[in-house]
Structure formats: structure tokens, C-alpha cells
């Protein structure tokens, strides 16, 4: 799996994951994901649009960082999951506790509610 990220001017960390979040794929990015998404208070947007497969292990990795951000009063949202991944988020009701957006503007507004600049 591949993980890239950048910090935007609005103070949002955009993390893009790509590949299969199966056992091997998750092991590949788990350490890096946790270090860029959990180790400090952040507003994190995880772009899931290139993740083709989400296993229970991969789901655990996402939940771990979402929990870490909550405890730091930061926030983590998921952006644009593929249909197969969206079904996993729905089936486990994770989508009810970790926000999922399909619109980038909406995702940003959820993270930076005060920011009313047009996107």
C-alpha cells in the first residue's frame, strides 16, 4: 500500500491511502499511518478513494487513529470510500461514529467549521 500526505493552509492533514487494506497492506502502512494520523492533535482527512479493499485489520487501524484524535480533541474523517469499502463501514456501523463524506467541501467544513471561505 501507499500512503502520502500533505498539510493544507486551513490546518487539515490530507492523508491519501492507496491499495488493498488487507493483512499485508495494512501491515505496510500501519506504523506510518499511526505516526502521521495519531501522534499529535490534528484535523485529519483520510482520502479512501483509492482503497479497493478494507479488511477488519484495516478497519482497526482507521478506528485506532480516530480514537486517538478524539482523545486529543482533534478529529478524523473519511473521504470518498469506494462502494465495497463503504459497505464495510456501513455493516460495522463505523460510519456512524467516524464521519464519512463524499464531498470534499463538506468534509473540510466538518473539520474546520469556523472556516466559511468558499472551497
Amino acid at each position: 500500500m501507499e500512503l502520502t500526505y500533505e498539510d493544507s493552509a486551513e490546518g487539515i492533514r490530507h492523508i491519501r491511502l492507496a491499495g488493498r487494506m488487507d493483512v499485508e497492506g495494512t501491515h505496510e502502512i500501519d506504523l506510518k499511518f499511526t505516526s502521521v494520523a495519531s501522534c499529535q492533535k490534528l484535523l485529519v482527512l483520510v482520502d479512501m478513494s483509492l482503497v479497493e479493499f478494507l479488511s477488519s485489520l484495516g478497519l482497526g487501524t482507521l478506528v485506532r487513529s480516530a480514537k486517538a484524535q478524539m482523545s486529543r480533541t482533534g478529529m478524523l474523517v473519511l473521504y470518498s470510500p469506494t462502494p465495497a469499502v463503504a459497505r464495510v463501514l456501513q455493516a460495522t456501523q463505523i460510519d456512524q461514529i467516524v464521519p464519512v463524506y463524499y464531498d470534499l467541501g463538506e468534509a473540510r467544513r466538518a473539520l474546520v467549521p469556523g472556516d466559511v471561505r468558499p472551497v
Binding site: 488493498r20 488487507d22 493483512v23 479493499f53 478494507l54 479488511s55 477488519s56 485489520l57 478497519l59 482497526g60 487501524t61 478506528v63 485506532r64 480516530a66 480514537k67 478524539m70 462502494p83 465495497a84 459497505r87 464495510v88 456501513q90 455493516a91 460495522t92 456501523q93 463505523i94 460510519d95 456512524q96 461514529i97 467516524v98
Partner: protein, 142 residues
């Protein structure tokens, strides 16, 4: 196993939704057998093995696109994935676990999950039927 399953699914003409969901369920069940079925050494010692077989795992696909069943069989310790009650959906991030999502995923995505204990064998079968997709969570339908 994923590539193998996807090839099989393509051959029999299984639709994309069921292919993705069954692929995931098969992987979760197989990962559980590989990780847990033989992990309890006490059980391995206690059990008398007729020959010197130490473990056997089987993967079986039956049926066709209209009604596909995929089973994972093992001769490890007895484990009924249905016996544990479905965990409550977490409700809040606080209470959400980092592990333990495998069986909830399988229960939610497979149309049917059947466990059989036959002799020394565990057999878990997942079945998929063409379904109308339901809006909202499918946790409730279990």
C-alpha cells in the same frame, strides 16, 4: 486466495457487489483459521490424532452465481462463530474496539453464515444470495 476467488467469481458471473463482499468474508474467515484455530496448544496436546497429521485446512466453493456457498474447514479447536452474540454496534468512538471486527463484518455482509461441527472438523459456510441492497446499516438484519 483473493485472486483465486475473483477468478472463480468472474467465471460463474457473480456480480461485483457479491464478489467484493464474499472475497472479504472468505479472507476474514481464513485469517481467523490461520490465526486462531491452532493457536491453543493445550487443545492440540489433549486431542488424540489418529495419524500424525498436524493440521488440515480446506476451502470449498459450491453452487453458482445464483447461490454461491464458500466454506472454510479446519481440524483445529471447535469454534462456532455464531455462538458469541453479535457485539453491540459501538455507538460511540470511545467504546469502539480496534480489533474484533472480523466476525461482525462476515455476519453483516454474508447472506447466511452456517457453522457445522463434524467429527474433528469445523466447517463455516458463507452464502450469498442476490439481494436488494438496503439503505442504512445492515447490522440490524442479523
Amino acid at each position: 486466495m483473493s485472486r483465486w476467488f475473483r477468478q472463480l467469481a468472474a467465471e460463474i458471473g457473480l456480480d461485483a457487489v457479491r464478489t467484493d463482499d464474499l472475497e472479504l468474508c472468505l479472507n476474514e474467515l481464513l485469517a481467523n483459521v490461520l490465526n486462531y484455530a491452532y493457536a491453543d496448544e493445550a487443545y492440540a496436546d489433549e486431542r488424540a490424532r489418529p495419524d500424525d497429521k498436524i493440521r488440515e485446512i480446506r476451502i470449498v466453493a459450491e453452487g453458482g452465481a445464483g447461490d454461491l456457498r464458500v466454506s472454510v474447514e479446519d481440524d483445529g479447536r471447535p469454534f462456532d462463530p455464531q455462538a458469541k452474540p453479535s457485539p453491540e454496534p459501538p455507538g460511540s468512538l470511545d467504546r469502539a474496539g480496534i480489533g474484533g471486527w472480523g466476525l461482525p463484518i462476515v455476519r453483516a455482509l454474508a447472506s447466511e453464515l452456517v457453522y457445522e461441527r463434524r467429527g474433528d472438523w469445523n466447517r463455516v459456510t458463507i452464502r450469498t444470495l442476490p439481494t436488494v441492497s438496503l439503505p442504512g446499516s445492515r447490522f440490524n438484519n442479523l
